[in-house]
C-alpha cells in the first residue's frame, strides 16, 4: 500500500492507502474524494480528473504520453507545470507520502 494525500480546493484532506498499480483516479473515486469527476472512467478522454501533483515527486512519475498531454489542453481549471490526469498516473511505491492537490472545478 502506498500513502497518498488528496487535498481538495477547499482544503479538506483525505489520506488513502492505495494499492500498488492503481491509478490516482481509481483510488480517489472509489473512496469518495469529491474533487475528481472522471466522467470517462479512465480512458483518457474527458480531462475531468485533473490534479496537481507534489512537485518534489514529479520525477518519480512516468511522464505524460501524447494522449494525456493532448487532454491536458482541455482542463477547465488552470493547467500548471505539475498538472496531470489522475487516471494516467499509476501509483508506485516511490510515490509513498505524495500529496495531490485538486482544482476547484473539473467541468
Amino acid at each position: 500500500m502506498v500513502k497518498i494525500n488528496f487535498i481538495e480546493a477547499d482544503g479538506s484532506e483525505t489520506e488513502l492507502d492505495v494499492q500498488d498499480g492503481w491509478s490516482l483516479m481509481q483510488a480517489a473515486v472509489s473512496n469518495g474524494v469529491e474533487g475528481i469527476e472522471a466522467e470517462c472512467g479512465g480512458s483518457c478522454c474527458c480531462a475531468t480528473c485533473h490534479c496537481y501533483v507534489d512537485e518534489a515527486y514529479l520525477d518519480k512519475l512516468e511522464a505524460a504520453n501524447d494522449k494525456e498531454l493532448g487532454m491536458l489542453e482541455e482542463t477547465v481549471a488552470e493547467r500548471k507545470d505539475n498538472s496531470r490526469l489522475a487516471c494516467q498516473v499509476k501509483v508506485t511505491p516511490e510515490m509513498d507520502g505524495m500529496t495531490v492537490h485538486l482544482p476547484e472545478v473539473q467541468s
Partner: protein, 391 residues
C-alpha cells in the same frame, strides 16, 4: 445451500438477503443456476472493474449476451480499441456539453407531469413519468426520430433486457426484439446521414479516428445498445428513485426541506436500489479468490447491487439515508467501462425530479409493496409498474 437464481421472477423482489449470505459466506460463488461465478463484495467487484486485462468484456457484458453483439459496442470492447472508440463518443456525453439539454429536460418533465395530475389521484410513475421523460430525453440526445407513440421502441427495449427464465437464454421473442432494435438503429442512422444534427448519432456517423470512420456495424450496434440501455437504465433509475421517495417519506421530507440534497439523494438511490444490478466479465487467466480458483474462460457476474450493500464499505447498508456519502458506489459500474451516460443520467434525473418533487411533493405507493412486480432481467432491476397515489 444458498442459491443465486437470478432467473426466478421473484429473485429481484428482494435479492438482498441472498446477497448478504453470499458476501458473508460465499464471496466467490459458483452459481449452478447461472453457470457463472458471482462476486458480491464491494472490494472484489471494484478490483475486477479496475482490472480489465483479467476481467475482460470482449466476450460480452450482458449476463445473457446477444449473438454478434460482443466486440461491436463500447461495453464489449477492451482497451486499446475501447479507449479509441470512447474518445470519439465521450464528448457528446460530457457534463460541460450537456447544459443545452437542461431546459428541454425541464420542459419534457413538465409535460410528463400532466400525465400524473388531473382528476385521478393514482398514476403510474413508471409509464407516465419515468418512461415518458426517458424517451424524450433520448430523442433529444441521440437524434431519434420524433414520434407521438414510442410504444414499440419501449416494448422492444424492455424485451431486450429480459431472459427466458426456463431456458436461461435469450428466447425467440428477445432475439426478435434485438433484430427490431438493430433495424430501428439502421433507420435512425439513415435518417441522420441525410439530415445530420448536433446529436450523437450524427456525430458517430461522421466521427473519424486516425482518418478511419467507425464500421457501420459498430455504429449500428452502438446505437442499438444506447437505445436499449438508455431506455432501460435511465427509466430504471428514475423508477427506483421514485420508489425510494415513496417508501421513505421521512427521507423525502428531508429532501423537500433542502433541495440542494438532491444530487446526494440520487447517488444514494443508485447505491441503495441499484438498477444496473449485474454485469458480466470473462476471465483471461486463472484467478484464485477467497480459496476458490476461477478458470480462464469462466464467466464472472459482478453483482453491483450486492457490492453497494456491502457493510464492509457502507455502515448500515440497508438504510436509505440521503445524507450519507455514498460516493464510490458501483451503480454506474466502474473502471474503464464506467457508464458512458453517467453524466446525462445524473443531469436528467436531477432536472426531471426537481420538477416532479416541486409539482407533486407528497405521494405514497398505491398498492402494497409486496405486490410490486419487478422486471424479469438478469441485468437490471426496477419495478414494471409503480402506481403512486398523490396525497
Amino acid at each position: 445451500m444458498v442459491r443465486f437464481n437470478l432467473y426466478s421472477a421473484e429473485f429481484d423482489a428482494n435479492p438482498f438477503d441472498v446477497y448478504k449470505e453470499l458476501r458473508d459466506n460465499h464471496p466467490c460463488f459458483w452459481s449452478e443456476d447461472a453457470q457463472k461465478w458471482v462476486l458480491t463484495r464491494h472490494e472484489d467487484v471494484l478490483n475486477a472493474l479496475n482490472d480489465w486485462e483479467t476481467y475482460s468484456s470482449a466476450k460480452g457484458n450482458l449476463v445473457d449476451e446477444f449473438p454478434g453483439r460482443a466486440g461491436n459496442t463500447l461495453g464489449t470492447m477492451d482497451p486499446p480499441r475501447h479507449d479509441e472508440v470512447r474518445s470519439i463518443v465521450q464528448s457528446v456525453f460530457m457534463k460541460r456539453n450537456l447544459n443545452h439539454l437542461i431546459e428541454p429536460i425541464q420542459q419534457i418533465a413538465k409535460g410528463a407531469i400532466d400525465n400524473c395530475i388531473g382528476d385521478r389521484k393514482v398514476f403510474d410513475f413508471a409509464e407516465d413519468f419515468a418512461g415518458e421523460v426517458t424517451y424524450k430525453v433520448l430523442v433529444a440526445l441521440l437524434g431519434l426520430p420524433e414520434t407521438d407513440d414510442p410504444t414499440e421502441v419501449k416494448k422492444n427495449a424492455l424485451l431486450m433486457v429480459q431472459t427466458d427464465p426456463k431456458t436461461r437464454e435469450k428466447g425467440p421473442e428477445h432475439l426478435k426484439a434485438f433484430e427490431w432494435m438493430k433495424d430501428f438503429a439502421a433507420e435512425v442512422i439513415e435518417l441522420r446521414a441525410k439530415h445530420p444534427g448536433d446529436d450523437l448519432v450524427s456525430q458517430l456517423i461522421t466521427a473519424e479516428l486516425d482518418g478511419r470512420k467507425l464500421d457501420l456495424i459498430q455504429v449500428q450496434m452502438t446505437v442499438t445498445t444506447l437505445v436499449m440501455a438508455g431506455i432501460e437504465s435511465l427509466a430504471g433509475m428514475l423508477k427506483v428513485f421514485g420508489y425510494n421517495m415513496a417508501v421513505f417519506p421521512e427521507q423525502r421530507q428531508k429532501l423537500l426541506d433542502d433541495m440542494s440534497l438532491l444530487p446526494d439523494a440520487i447517488e444514494e438511490s443508485m447505491r441503495f436500489n441499484t438498477s444496473a444490478q449485474r454485469f458480466r466479465r470473462c476471465l483471461t487467466k486463472d484467478v484464485t479468490l477467497h480459496g476458490q480458483t476461477m478458470k480462464k474462460g469462466d464467466f464472472v457476474i459482478l453483482a453491483y447491487g450486492a457490492a453497494n450493500r456491502d457493510e464492509r464499505k457502507y455502515p448500515n447498508p440497508d438504510v436509505y439515508d440521503i445524507t450519507r456519502n455514498s460516493k464510490g458506489h458501483v451503480g454506474m459500474g466502474g473502471g474503464t467501462h464506467t457508464c458512458l451516460g453517467n453524466s446525462i443520467a445524473r443531469l436528467a434525473m436531477k432536472t426531471a425530479m426537481e420538477v416532479f418533487l416541486t409539482e407533486i411533493p407528497s405521494f405514497s405507493l398505491a398498492e402494497p409493496e409486496d405486490r410490486l412486480e419487478w422486471v424479469a432481467s438478469s441485468n437490471f432491476r426496477s419495478p414494471v409498474k409503480l402506481l403512486l397515489v398523490r396525497d
